[in-house]
């Protein structure tokens, strides 16, 4: 890679850059870009696999939302926890999941993260700190409270980051969870990916306040509303929230304003939004925006950026091929994992 290497993390040597970007060293940026590419390519390959008839169920693609998944998880340490959503492929990859095991799960194979029992909406890697995607809107929010209680009781210094959407913030679970996390000062970071629609319902019709982050005030915790397509900006507020959680000061609410380029799921015919709106948001592509900014500051050149993208594409291609050749589960094992023994 031809990027200039610097050892500082304070950004003191990058005075011309905005502080959010300057705070990220080249290695961190390269890692983040790789994960954003992996998410984009994963989702594209998932969509292509569906078109080719390789996918049995539905899926919820997060193309366009890569910066919030990667930026929010950037300050997390290896032993921290995340909880994710039905639109969760990005969170898993951001947290370091292996795309080949994710595709194996997606294809329903015994070698998948959940042995083909969970599928797209339930990818989890509990040992790796990923406590699971969730098929229920808001389902992960109360669970995060319990994870926070564990961390506090075990005094292990971890943090739990829970992702959810704008739609989930209208569920009772959201309000109960934020309240409990706040009264008990739990080490939880609530990350709302506000992609403007709960399926087809525009957030402005579903919510009386202008920002999901405004709701933090009701629970006496900091609420940050950020441009969710700005990796560095998301990472900056996440760093603050994670530090606050880890130091015992309690939870924060982060709202990443972003947009999903694809429909809610495969049944979506985009009847509730215009082509123009989608096109407007495509111009806010979080990956291109970051690349352009890096090039403008001469931190990465075009060939090195291209290489990150190509490497990601290669990993995803390999992952799909791996998954296709894996064995299906045996029906005789249907009830094997219903109960722990």
């Amino acid at each position: 890679m031809s990027a200039r290497k610097t050892d500082d993390t304070s950004g003191a040597q990058r005075p011309n850059q905005r502080p959010e970007l300057a705070a990220l060293d080249d290695e961190t940026i390269a890692g983040a870009l790789t994960r954003m590419h992996l998410i984009r390519k994963f989702e594209e390959a998932a969509e292509a696999s569906y078109m080719r008839g390789l996918i049995h169920g539905t899926m919820h693609l997060s193309i366009g939302q890569e910066a919030s998944a990667v930026g929010a998880t950037l300050p997390l340490e290896a032993h921290d926890y995340i909880l994710s959503t039905h639109r969760g492929h990005g969170h898993c990859i951001a947290r370091g999941a292996e795309p080949k095991l994710m595709f194996a799960e997606f294809f329903g194979k015994e070698t998948g993260y959940c042995k083909g029992r969970g599928g797209s909406m339930h990818i989890a890697d509990v040992e790796g700190g990923n406590l699971g995607a969730n098929g229920i809107v808001g389902g992960g929010l109360p669970i995060a409270v319990g994870v926070g209680m564990s961390i506090k009781a075990q005094k292990n210094g971890r943090v739990c980051m829970v992702f959810f959407g704008d739609g989930a913030s209208n569920e009772g679970a959201f309000h109960e969870a934020l309240n409990m996390a706040s009264i008990w000062k739990l080490p939880v970071v609530f990350v709302c990916e506000n992609n403007k629609y709960g399926m087809s319902m525009d957030i402005s019709r579903a919510m009386a306040v202008a920002n999901v982050a405004d709701r933090a005030a009701a629970y006496a915790m900091p609420g940050h509303s950020v441009d969710g397509n700005d990796l560095a900006g998301v990472a900056a507020v996440a760093r603050e929230a994670v530090a606050r959680a880890r130091s015992g000061e309690g939870p924060s609410l982060i709202e990443c304003k972003t947009y999903r380029w694809r429909g809610h799921s495969k049944s979506d015919r985009n009847l509730y939004r215009s082509k123009e709106e989608i096109e407007e948001w495509r111009l806010q592509d979080p990956i291109r925006r970051l690349e352009d900014e890096l090039k403008a500051h001469d931190r990465f050149d075009a060939p090195s950026l291209m290489k990150l993208e190509e490497d990601a594409q290669r990993e995803i291609d390999t992952a799909v091929e791996f998954a296709r050749t894996c064995p299906d589960p045996d029906p005789k094992d249907l009830t094997r994992d219903v109960y722990a023994i």
Binding site: Y81, G112, Y113, C114, K115, G116, R117, G118, H122, A124, D125, V126, E127, L131, G132, N134, G135, I136, G139, L141, P142, I143, A144, V145, G146, V147, G148, M149, S150, I151, A153, Q154, C160, G172, A173, E176, A177, N179, M180, I183, T335, R336, D337, V338, Y339, A340, I341
Partner: protein, 340 residues
């Protein structure tokens, strides 16, 4: 006989059901730092039914935790704590309020292990005071256990004696799965022999409370106690009834029921939950589908709750669930006339 197999050898005292539950909680928390109790008013208030009592003073507010009135939230918190190394015991103040927590119990707790390919477990216990007889009317008196027995991934217990209340709670806390324990409110003050040591009553084993020849009466929770009292009266009338206390409805001990029916040739199932689509239907069908069906000399009869919400008026309230007299009458008719 698979009943009181774990009768302890040590000190045995008379305790109330509520005291037995509290003793189990205290012993579990003493033995294992991962165990904690939480729920609405379980702290200094001592629990709505006095079950947690002084535990907050013994173990502190960090382990006996008062929660906001947020049933969905606290059920989810139990799930989160369980999958990250704790052993939460959650009290849902009245079992009726579990309706607010269904999402977390049914979609999350019951399914996480399966959905994650066996790579997680959810070792949590939920205690749910339920049942009618206290004049609390339709939203504080239900028997909803059959709902949860319909959900693979959950275990559902209904201990009927102080002995079992303690031993099954300790077994539930040890269990690596989500376990719901429905405690009938009218049983809390009943007394019985309870060993002082921390013993376990295995989950999934029914208890034969009384041996008999002429009819098998299967009951759960308070109905097992009523069936025992009814059997005593039936004996005075020359009818020998065998009484099986289910204790656990998921998993259910079909073997003990089947062996009994093979001997007595008649089956009466008694439960407080609504009769329609209830646990009696499941037991009846299990017998009907098995080779024991050929041993029946009379139809299987169910006595269950009326197709009605639990009413406030005490006369109506009694009429809404099976009473001891109903059991005596139904059993006698079944033995003498071959019908209820």
């Amino acid at each position: 006989m698979p009943s009181e197999t774990l009768e302890a050898t040590g000190d045995v005292r008379e305790l109330s059901y509520a005291e037995a539950v509290r003793e189990a909680l205290g012993q579990a928390m003493e033995a294992d730092e991962r165990v904690f109790l939480f729920g609405e008013d379980v702290g200094v208030y001592g629990g709505a039914f006095g079950v947690s009592g002084d535990l907050v003073h013994r173990f502190g507010k960090e382990r006996v935790i008062d929660t906001p009135i947020s049933e969905l939230g606290i059920a989810g918190a139990a799930v989160g704590a369980a999958i990250t190394g704790m052993r939460p015991v959650l009290e849902i103040q009245f079992s009726d309020f579990v309706t607010l927590a269904m999402e977390q119990l049914v979609n999350q707790a019951a399914k996480i292990r399966f959905m994650f390919g066996g790579k997680a477990s959810v070792p949590m216990v939920v205690r749910l005071p339920g049942g009618s007889g206290t004049g609390a009317a339709a939203q504080h008196s239900q028997s909803l256990e059959a709902w949860f027995a319909h959900v693979p991934g959950l275990k559902v217990l209904q201990p009927s004696t102080p002995h079992d209340a303690k031993g099954m709670l300790l077994a539930a806390i040890d269990d690596p799965n989500p376990v719901l324990i429905f405690e009938h409110k009218l049983l809390y003050k009943t007394k019985g022999h309870v060993p002082a040591e921390a013993y376990r009553v295995p989950i999934g084993q029914a208890a034969i409370r009384r041996e008999g020849r002429d009819i098998t009466i299967v009951g759960s929770s308070i109905m097992a106690r009523k069936a025992e009292a009814a059997a005593e009266r039936l004996a005075g009338d020359g009818i020998s009834a065998e009484v099986i206390d289910l204790r656990s409805i998921r998993p259910i001990d079909f073997t003990t029921i089947a062996e009994s029916v093979r001997k007595t040739h008649r089956l009466l199932v008694v439960y407080e939950g609504v009769k329609t689509m209830g646990i009696g239907a499941e037991i009846s069908a299990m017998i009907a589908e098995s080779e024991v069906f050929d041993f029946l000399d009379a139809p299987i009869i169910r006595l269950g709750g009326a197709d009605s919400p639990i009413p406030y008026n005490p006369v109506l309230e009694k009429a809404a669930v099976p009473q001891e007299d109903d059991i005596v009458t139904a059993a006698a008719n079944l033995v003498r006339r071959g019908e209820a």
